[in-house]
């Protein structure tokens, strides 16, 4: 009894210390941010629009071909087409003076265009949010019954604590310089997010505006982006659960989530989506359209997957996962019903993840994206089922689910840039990669991955980034990352193009980008948490692991009728 009490107290003390450390960390970062914000205050610049009353006017009116209704006055008098542009501008001015009612109508049209895109982006964001529930079901079903409560709490806390970190600094790090190189025109351009903390111009490394989603980020357009992007970050946040569960202590899990939400995810996200240096490699080094990842095969999934891999290496395998002979042992899933329902919830959520990444319904490519996403999902699942059927004599239900997710992860980067045949092939490749990945980790690397998160999100995420560089057919993405707005590869309107369609440089930059992603996510996580683990073991004790983490960590079993002495009276 005394030993038990002592254990309880020391656990509480450890938690207190961890909490203190976290609070101290937050306070320090708040101070740093306050200092960083001071110079920003002094700058004159565009004002945020919290009410949404001035967002969207005639400048937001764009035709199907991407041409602006308002013709801007050309500024560069040395440009060869200056005379033509000046003529167009003068004609527009004359026309506008003659038809003031049309200009007024254009103001209303611009507002409605943005409203359409706001509604689309927010609603697809809500779908992505729901993926959280799917992942909770999937991972909980895949583990042993004695850890069901533990899995649910990890999935729940992941949302809360990663959000906290992203709210404080993550969003600003990722999108604080959005307007510099990649203003989201579909959402009004977020002109107030215009400052790199590290780097400038085409070589930005870290965004620097919008801390605590306040000040310049307190803006209707910016908040659409924030809602949509925070749920993406959450995806990376919960991916790690699938790898580190059944042995990680709660306090160290919270540190992992804060790390992902504040640093790991936003930094790489800034490089690719926030207008950072990787997205601008087309402008700076002539590498295709720069590094392109449409909806996050690498930015979201591979970051989560390789972070999970590093954490799993630091933690080591679950007790009993490997026998004395080094052979892997099976810990069968305790609830296949959860696994399958969870996978379908994830598929449903993915209909927001990929099509929503246009950030606007006025981009009609959304239907192609939706179909591509489904095609890869079914071909990935079919491949995994048939592969297992052939190799082990019976198709494995959990691998069928992993195969579907693998197809979804791999199509996430290329979904907007490829046709249906390519999407189908990418799904097949992903189905193979996930099957081989699971067997490889189990038998060769011996990295214990209870739910297959490393193979599904890590390996297939990298595959997705590379597949974009192979299969992109040039029908979409003209002017992507500021490259080839008028013509590309000698063709007007040519978009992002892969190796099979004639752009080897795009393939090169995709290879490079995917490698950087894996190196960053694995490397940064490994260094930080190897150090944390050296200070205090991130694993629960052996006794707790054998008993199951539910009661020792959270005081109640996942299914409370299992408790020996629960009395209702």
């Amino acid at each position: 009894m005394n030993a038990e009490k002592h254990k309880e107290q020391s656990r509480r003390r450890a938690f207190g210390r961890a909490l203190l450390r976290g609070a101290a960390g937050l306070a320090t970062s708040a101070c740093i941010i306050a200092i960083l914000l001071l110079p920003c205050r002094a700058q004159e610049g565009p004002k945020p629009d919290p009410s949404g009353l001035t967002t969207g006017d005639k400048t937001s009116v764009v035709d199907a071909g991407g041409n602006n209704f308002v013709v801007a006055e050309p500024t560069d008098k040395t440009a060869p087409d200056y005379a033509q542009k000046k003529k167009d501008f003068d004609e527009f001015q004359a026309q506008a003076a003659k038809e003031p009612l049309a200009v007024k109508l254009a103001d209303a049209t611009g507002h409605i265009r943005l409203a359409t895109n706001f509604a689309w982006t927010l609603n697809t964001g809500y779908l992505v949010l729901f993926m959280q529930a799917g992942f909770a079901l999937l991972t909980c079903g895949l583990v042993r019954k004695k850890n069901a409560g533990h899995l649910m709490m990890l999935n729940f806390a992941a949302y809360v604590f990663a959000f906290l970190a992203y709210y404080a600094v993550g969003y600003a790090f990722q999108f604080g310089a959005m307007a510099v190189n990649s203003a989201p025109g579909n959402l009004g351009g977020t002109p107030t997010l215009n400052h790199f903390l590290l780097g400038s111009g085409f070589w930005g490394f870290l965004g620097g505006k919008g801390f605590f989603m306040a000040g310049p980020a307190y803006d209707a357009g910016s908040n659409v982006l924030a809602l949509f992007e925070v749920v993406f970050m959450e995806t990376a946040g919960y991916i790690i659960v699938g790898s580190i569960c059944e042995r990680i202590s709660f306090w160290s899990f919270l540190l992992c989530e804060l790390f992902i939400g504040a640093i790991l995810y936003p930094v790489f996200g800034c490089w690719v989506w926030g207008g950072g240096w990787m997205s601008q490699l087309g402008n700076t080094m002539g590498l295709g359209h720069g590094y392109v990842d449409f909806a996050g095969s690498t930015v979201v999934h591979a970051v989560g997957g390789f972070c999970a891999m590093a954490l799993s290496v630091v933690l080591g395998p679950r007790l009993g996962k490997y026998g004395p002979d080094g052979k892997p042992r099976a810990f069968p899933a305790h609830n296949l019903v959860y696994v399958v329902i969870g996978t379908f919830v994830l598929l449903f959520g993915w209909m927001g993840f990929n099509p929503g990444s246009t950030l606007g319904a006025t981009d009609l490519r959304i239907s192609v994206v939706a179909i591509n996403t489904n095609l890869a999902a079914i071909s990935g699942s079919a491949t995994a089922m048939l592969f297992w059927y052939w190799k082990f004599g019976k198709p494995d239900i959990t691998m069928a689910c992993n195969g579907m997710l693998a197809g979804l992860v791999a199509i996430t980067a290329p979904c907007a840039f490829v046709g249906p045949t390519s999407a189908f092939i990418i799904g097949i490749l992903a189905g193979l990669v996930v099957c081989l990945g699971v067997l490889f980790n189990d038998n060769v690397t011996k990295i214990d991955d209870p739910c297959g998160a490393i193979s599904v999100h890590g390996f297939c995420g990298i595959l997705g980034g590379i597949c974009l560089g192979l299969f992109a057919d040039g029908t979409y993405g003209a002017g992507w990352n500021g490259v080839g707005a008028t013509s590309y590869l000698g063709q007007a309107g040519k978009g992002v193009t892969g190796l099979f369609y004639g752009d080897s440089k795009q393939f090169l930059v995709q290879l490079m980008g995917a490698a950087i992603c894996a190196a960053w996510a694995f490397g940064a996580t490994f260094i930080v948490f190897k150090a944390v683990n050296a200070m205090k073991s991130m694993r629960v004790t052996k006794e707790v692991e054998l008993e199951g983490l539910d009661v020792p960590e959270f005081g109640i079993p996942g299914y409370s009728e299992d408790a020996m002495s629960v009395s209702a009276s």
């Binding site: 042992r329 099976a330 810990f331 069968p332 899933a333 082990f392 189990d442 297959g452």
Partner: protein, 112 residues
């Protein structure tokens, strides 16, 4: 009085129950149990790794009958529970000293 204990395949329960009711057995007690016999279970693969299913789910029946009826009940039970494959189970028979009906205190075979 005899106690007839039978360990049978779960999917045979309905047939056994019907057969016993058919010959007028008054009451049976059923429990879900796990166990293994001479084969010690079998192996399966899950996500590519092998595991042994060593304790298989079975149904245990307990039936109490007057001595005179024992052979008939055992015969019917064995016929209904038989599939001819490994794992069909076993029947154990033992003598019972006394029985009590809790409601009114009846004793012996009258309490069955």
């Amino acid at each position: 009085m005899k106690k007839i204990e039978a360990i049978i395949q779960p999917h045979k329960l309905d047939e056994v129950k019907e057969a016993l009711i058919g010959i007028g057995v008054q009451g049976i007690t059923v429990s879900e149990v796990r166990g293994h016999g001479r084969q010690k279970g079998h192996t399966e693969t899950y996500r590519g790794a092998e595991y042994t299913v060593d304790l298989l789910p079975k149904i245990k029946l307990e039936i109490f009958v007057p001595d005179a009826r024992a052979e008939q009940v055992i015969g019917e039970l064995a016929t209904a529970a038989r599939s001819g494959k490994i794992g069909d189970g076993k029947i154990f028979v033992s003598s019972i000293e006394d029985a009590v009906r809790i409601r009114n205190g009846d004793r012996g075979e009258g309490a069955l």
